[in-house]
Symmetry: C2
Subunit: 226 residues, 2 copies
């Protein structure tokens, strides 16, 4: 059964009727081919004819942990475009140098749902609550996960490599990539990252805004994992 919002859209906007075939996603990766039984604008009921698992899925698992910029529109753009390309989890971060220190996910959640539908995917990316960089750096991801942190400068004693090199050397296809705020990560955050086994990566020589850097990194993973 469709919830009231989706039912309203289905019956009043799209003007479907009983007997029509519709395609429904569950947000977890599956697409259902369905036939409407009851065309109720508050509670549409349907029979499931067919299930496609992993509809529009991608052959990697990507978590993008990004410090939202002061202008939240830019973060919403990133959420939409990352969904089109293929992302699994988005974690908004607050770092030492973050200008934006609060984050409300309601609008981003709606954008993630509509971008998922528009780009013909079955799984809606998960949006986590705002998390301090230090806490995220300390999270346990499991041994098979490739953990990358983007940094514009260098960290003494730690190696920095270009993202394409990192991806070509990566083991498996699970990736977590961190993008810092306008002022980048702090030296203390980077020292913690290096000590916790995060690979420091470069996105090349261009000076990219937060959302551009984040999308470039996501595109790099997408283009690498054919």
């Amino acid at each position: 059964m469709l919830d009231s919002q989706e039912s309203g859209h289905c019956i009043k906007v799209l003007r479907h009727r009983a007997g029509d075939t519709i395609h429904v996603i569950d947000g977890c990766g599956n697409l259902y081919e369905c036939r409407i039984v009851t065309a109720d604008a508050a509670a549409t009921r349907f029979d499931i004819l067919n299930v496609v698992e992993g509809y529009g899925s991608h052959p990697y698992n990507l978590t993008m942990a990004v410090a939202p910029p002061k202008n939240i529109d830019r973060f919403e753009w990133f959420c939409e475009k990352a969904t089109e390309i293929g992302v699994d989890t988005i974690v908004p971060l607050v770092g030492d140098y973050s200008e934006r220190r609060v984050f409300k996910g309601d609008r981003c959640e709606r954008i993630l749902v509509s971008a998922t539908k528009q780009s013909h995917k079955g799984a809606i990316p998960a949006l986590e609550p705002l998390m301090p960089v230090r806490d995220f750096l300390a999270r346990n991801f499991g041994s098979g996960v490739n953990k990358y942190i983007c940094y514009c400068s260098d960290v003494e004693g730690a190696q920095k490599i270009h993202i394409t090199q990192a991806l070509s050397e990566a083991a498996g296809r699970e990736f977590v990539i961190m993008i810092g705020p306008e002022g980048d990560f702090s030296r203390e955050e980077m020292a913690l990252a290096a000590s916790r086994g995060w690979q420091i990566i470069s996105l090349g020589d261009s000076r990219l805004r937060i959302e551009t850097a984040a999308l470039t990194a996501a595109a790099a993973v997408y283009l690498n994992c054919l």
Copy 2:
């Protein structure tokens, strides 16, 4: 001498005075370190202390020929982000299936200038007038230029390869990439492209909006040419 708009910004907004050092770009790739002689809000004069050629430049030449979507904000977003990453020329296209059949470049021009300054580059990308796809396909680019056209379907008798494969096989570092409108290029346009030596490329399995496809392609070139 700065023009009246830049002079006004320099003296009234940034509040520079005679003797201050400023950095000026000429939009053609050069950055000038200057000292203000006359702090006139209509016509600021300065002495050039130092020139940096190819400031913030990138080691490739990229022309993105993109059919602007109906929503022009999305094309402006692409112009801004492509400038941050590194692009040389942007050509808006009108194709058989284009919804948008007129294009005014004023706002995009302003966005290209501000994105160039913001991302610390010396060269402003050139924005050409709207051009029909057929005319662009017939343009003569010279033998060393890699010409790619993105297409969601296949063209009988013509090979389609993934963009990363195309880039790895590319001769030289000059690229022209075409991105079609919402309905993609038509079969007639694709037949013409194949006959004119354009390599048909794929951007992978995701279903991307015009501006997302265009930025993914630009990012692919940027990431490939370290």
